[in-house]
């Protein structure tokens, strides 16, 4: 008898407490805060250079170091290709400024694509990847090459199976991600690593940061010419390009003189299928341009001088005098930055 009574009383007390608690909670009224955008971080560039079209590469990037370390391993892991022969680093050789130095990149079985390998350095600064800009992020870009028939001819399932067999890989992924080894995480890890591949502290950046003697008077003159010829209209921003599309031969018809070799030459048209975008390509970043020969999407320009001249003729409509070309080239060479504390 007493037991039943006790139970009922206990239950009742509990109920009342809960009810009162609920009442109190219901009467609480939170306040809401509205968003204020951050002011643009202008780093440490002196006032006089704040309006220059080119801005210095930030000295550091915020990344998850564990993930980036895993990404670095994967970047160099040939198991990402179908026949275990090719890794990302195969074409994007970090020792040679993130390019392979070939006119066209070569995938497994030696299959060629009629496109020059763009450098992987500073790719984190670009809003879109590939010559035709079809990838809107590094992750999206990485999602492509393993399955791209010209490059690695693999697919994520195979890659995951291969990596799963390796206890080190399993362990690395478990340490870096909650959900372990997935295709998204592979892509994310590599992307995170690639974001670390920024090349700050180029001589020109030092100049922009106020060190006046970082570049020579000739190089300064070259920069002046670079701007006055209109190069800087497109090759601007932190990456000196890379953030817009432009027609190859916007003033003179480039492809009349350099006939297309394949659908690759259609450029952005391949992505939008908009007739307006035929022959449009992503304006390449000119950071480290000295080291990334040959030039253009088709790798047709073997030297910087040639590249500058061709650009001037087809995209600016001028024949630049050799002396100007030389000065511009001198300026371009000041854009070579550092990776891991060493100049590229």
């Amino acid at each position: 008898m007493t037991l039943k009574k006790n139970i009922i009383i206990a239950a009742a007390t509990l109920l009342i407490a809960t009810g009162l608690g609920a009442l109190y909670y219901g009467m609480e009224k939170p306040e809401y805060v509205y968003y204020q955008p951050d002011p643009i971080n202008s780093e440490d560039v002196p006032e006089k250079f704040r309006n220059e079209p080119i801005q210095p590469v930030p000295m550091g990037v915020k990344v998850n170091l564990t993930v980036a370390a895993l990404g670095k391993k994967l970047f160099h892991d040939p198991r990402l290709s179908a026949d275990d022969s090719i890794s990302c680093a195969n074409c994007h050789n970090l020792g040679t400024a993130g390019v392979d130095g070939r006119r066209y990149s070569i995938g497994i079985n030696g299959i060629q694509e009629y496109l020059n390998t763009p450098t992987i350095f500073n790719s984190g600064l670009n809003p879109y990847q590939f010559w035709d800009g079809r990838a809107a992020s590094l992750e999206q870009m990485i999602n492509e090459p393993p399955s791209n028939i010209h490059k690695m001819e693999s697919n994520w399932n195979d890659v995951i199976q291969k990596l799963k067999r390796d206890s080190t890989s399993r362990h690395d992924f478990a340490a870096a991600f909650e959900d372990g080894l997935t295709s998204n995480n592979i892509a994310h890890a590599i992307a995170e690593f690639e974001r670390t591949l920024a090349t700050p502290n180029a001589r020109f950046d030092q100049f922009l940061r106020g060190k006046d003697d970082a570049i020579t008077p000739q190089e300064k003159q070259g920069y002046h010419l670079f701007k006055s010829y209109g190069c800087a209209t497109c090759h601007q921003g932190v990456a000196v390009g890379g953030n817009m599309f432009e027609r190859m031969g916007s003033v003179r018809r480039y492809f009349d003189d350099y006939p297309p070799r394949g659908s690759e030459d259609l450029g952005r048209y391949n992505v939008t299928h908009d007739e307006k975008h035929r022959y449009y390509f992503r304006v390449p970043s000119l950071r480290n341009v000295e080291k990334t020969a040959p030039y253009f999407h088709n790798g047709s320009a073997k030297t910087l001088e040639e590249a500058v001249k061709v650009m001037g003729f087809y995209n600016l409509g001028v024949r630049m005098p050799e002396s100007d070309v030389a000065l511009i080239v001198q300026f371009l060479k000041t854009l070579t930055g550092e990776y891991e504390g060493r100049q590229l």
Binding site: M1, G19, A22, Q55, V318
Partner: protein, 1173 residues
Amino acid sequence: MKKISERKLLLGFCVVVLGALIYFYSNSVTIDPNRHEATVSYLNELAGLDRDLNEAVLKTHSNFLRNYDEFTRLSDRLKVVIKQLDALLPETEKIRKAQALVRENLDNKLAQIENLKSENAELRNSLHYITLGVTKLGKTPVDIDFDHLAFELLAINSDVASAEFKRSVKSQLEQAVKLRSRVPAQLRVDFDSMLAHSEVVLQDNLIMQDYLEKIFSIPTDTRISELSSLYRENFDGSLRRVQLHRYVLTFLSAVLLLGLLVMLWQLKIANMTQKITAFNLEAQKFALDQHAIVSIADFAGNITYANDRFCMISGYAREQLLGANHRTLKSGRHPDSFYQEMWHTIARGEVWEGDICNRAKDGHEYWVHSTIIPFPDEHGSPWQYISIRTDISQAKKMEMELRENQLQLEQMLETSPIAVRIMRLIDNRIVYANQSYAALFDATKSTLLGGSPLSLYKNPEEYMEISKALASGESIINRLMELVSTDGRTIWTLASYFSFIYRGEQAVLGWFYDVTELRKAKDEAETATRLKSEFLSTMSHEIRTPMSGVLGMADILLETTLDDRQREFAQIIKDSGKSLLSIINDILDFSKIEAGKLEIENIEFTLLPVVEGCVEILSVKAREKGLTLMTSVNPSIPHNLVGDPNRLRQILLNLVGNAIKFTTSGEILVRVDSSGEEEGKSLLRFEVTDSGIGISKEVSVTLFQPFTQADGSVTRKYGGTGLGLSISRRLTELMGGRIGADSLEGEGSTFWFEIPFKHPQQLSMLARPEALATLAALLIIPSRNQREVFFNYLEAWGMHTIGAENAEEAIGALKNNNTLNFAFISSMLGSDAIDDLMKSLKSMKKDIKCILVADSMAEFEAAQHHGFQSALLEPVKQSSLLDAIMQAMERRLQDIAKISNQQPVPLPKQKKSVDSANENHRILLVEDNSTNQKVALTLLANLKYSAEIARNGQECIELFTKNTYDLIFMDCQMPVMDGFEATRCIRRLENGSGMRIPIIAMTANAMEGDHERCIAAGMDGYMTKPIALAVLAAILREWLIDHVPLQQDVSPTLSVAGNSPVNLARLRDLFDDDEEIILQLLEDYKISTRGELKNLKLAIDQGDFVRIRSICHQLVGSSANLGLNRLQALSKAMEKVASYEDIEQAAILLDSLNAAMAEASDFINNNLKAHGS
């Protein structure tokens, strides 16, 4: 009852209210303020970002933007914000749609901005270049007002330019293009550039305007604010809902509180009523105590009251009982269900009455008759129980014991494996039967009970007989009775019957023990034993009879005048027969021993000839293998003994035979020694020591088990039944001895056995030759064992003996001791060394007598030429040793061969009979069996061929790689590597060389499919054993380029079947030498056979194998009848080939057949017609 349901109602109500509380509570906390805060902030940021984008676009257009990174930053942030909003926004359809619209519009806007960026860049540059161009071209004498044009172009760039204005500028430009030729060459580039840029400005400007319009026409801001307001609406809605839920929650809590207060009030009233009832019960209980065992327990069975009587009977003090549960007294005699039933009854409020066994404190059990009266409380459920009990332990105890006894007896009877039944005498009905009884008759107890057992007896008279005996007061014990089961099966039982009183009536108790199975087993065993014995004796007779025929005839044949070759053949027949017989004997012996049928004789025999005889028999084999076989029988062993000499010989032959078989080089020593003397008995130890392969310890354990050899592969390599050792063991054991083996693997082994032999009445020892006692001998023998044998024997005869291992030692010994009379010189020293030694010895002591110890026949025979006075052939027998000494003393050395009773089988001297014409053919014969080797070599020799021999596949391959052969005859089954493997190996070796040596299989397996196997292995032909000369000739003719001379040169002394075209002897025998009839028959045969051969050719051409076989079958018959052996053999071969459907072979054989036919014709013409005419 009313109150109870009321309370339940209240409780139910509470549960409902509680559920409602939980529901409303959970609904009232669905809003997460942090989430709302974040959502609103992101929505605001989205709107802000859109505004920033618009601002950046305007800046771009007005050329205020330093670079496009601003767009990158904004679009990156946009992506983040949109992603966050996707996760945060509530998932209603409206909001999702609005979200999608926002995304779509923003994507669209960003895409247009991309276009704008490109166009803007182009336009900026072009405008810049136009200004530059004007400054350069302005000074040129051309009719174009570049200044004006440039101005107009720049004006186009402003928003206000009308379409008409643009057209006019365009026409001006076209105008300018026409004037290009007038421009000086050095300025043409600038001119072209100017025009190109103008074109760009003209076009891009339009496009640029278009893009701007597009960008600003995209209603991103509206969409975003729509989304925001939708979200706000949604949020306000949920906020209202939550508020509502909270109000309800408060109300419910209040209701619940009220309900609880009511419940508490009710509980208090109930409590008071209970107290009054308890008081009443107390009074009644006191009244009861006075005349019974009384206890009171609460509703859980806890004792709340116990009177004095209760304390007394249970043995507990009252303090111990109070508060204790009634379970304390539980005896465990009643099942749980008993208590459950009791509790159910009293819990229902009913009175329970019954007998309970309880356990007192000291452990003893007591029975009480108990009445339990439940006392219900005011709600009707009992709250305490009064138990009133009377002690009935005594009565209960007696009843239990009785019942237990009865039960036990019944159980014992019931579970007895022996069938039991009780029959009432009044009506002869079965009144009791146990389980076994029912099972015995394959019936159920119910069908048997109440019936008469008469029908279960096979013989009713027997039943009557028993009834009579029982009636006269007798009992019947263990009588074998034949009964019948209900389904008619016969059952044999041992039955016992007793008269007794069952439940007050005269009855018969019957016990039945089932012995059906035992009887059946006994019958079967007897039959089986009889059949086995019969079979054994039949087999032994049936096999031995023809074998003894074969062996006997071979013996007789050997006694006739034979030339070397014939003697050899006959000897082979005899040897093969003997080994076959020994295998059969092994098997029969073994079966006999197993059946316990082998009897051991006890006869007087002489030991020495048995031992030495065995060794002598096997010495030939040993010599063939290059082994030295020795015996050493201790001369002090009694000369004659009583035992079974044949069985002793059998064991010895087996052990020595094994030793030879498993030893490849070295010596085998058979030693006989006494290992114990008893009154009238000698225990002899026989040891066979070899230097063979030895046996591992593990294997030596199983060695004497039947069907076991040291290794499974041994049978393959060495042959034999594997029964020898186990027979030896059984025989030894039968003779009262034991057998064993000591061995070190790889270092040889010693097989030994010990058998006790009785002494005969007249025990005799070997007489010691007195004449030798004063003599001295020098042993020049390298083998230590051999020297020891000589030493033992000679010393036993009283001779002084000195041993020497080589010539130098011997000369040294002679120098020291000039009294030496004899020198025993081993042929192992080598003939040159022996000659030298002899010379030295003779020169040192002229009258020394030299005796050769030869280990081959040839050396033995040549002893005289070397100047030996006497010679001995290994293995040395005591008697021959003595003879040799005597002979040497008498200087008689006339016919040494007579001393030896060895008749060595001369090896066929093929080499000598080989015709030089055929010597250039090299034939390799691969065959492991030496008899078969000889047969094949002889047959080849008859055909004027010689052959080299390989004893197995491996040797064959070694020889093949070393030498070049024209043909290989390959045995299929061989040790080490068989013929198939060897052939495959050769074909592999040949691969690519373009050569292919013909390989002809020789196989004893005339089994179906063998031919295919040979061909599959890469062989070219096929020959079954025994090899027919004709077939061999045909094959040689086929595979060797040169023609084999067919038979014409065959030695007439060889009458191997098939070597003469017509077996005239047989025909003459058949037809009593009537040459005319023979000729007639052969003529007929010739004509018909020629016809058949034509048919055969036709059949072969058509590939009609059925026809080929039927023709050949006829030919086989007719040829056999007339003794045309060759034709018979070839036809038979053809028949076989046809059965394999091998057309090529058939064609080849047809040629042979034609040739044989021609030959036969010639033969008939030459041999018969001449006679006839």
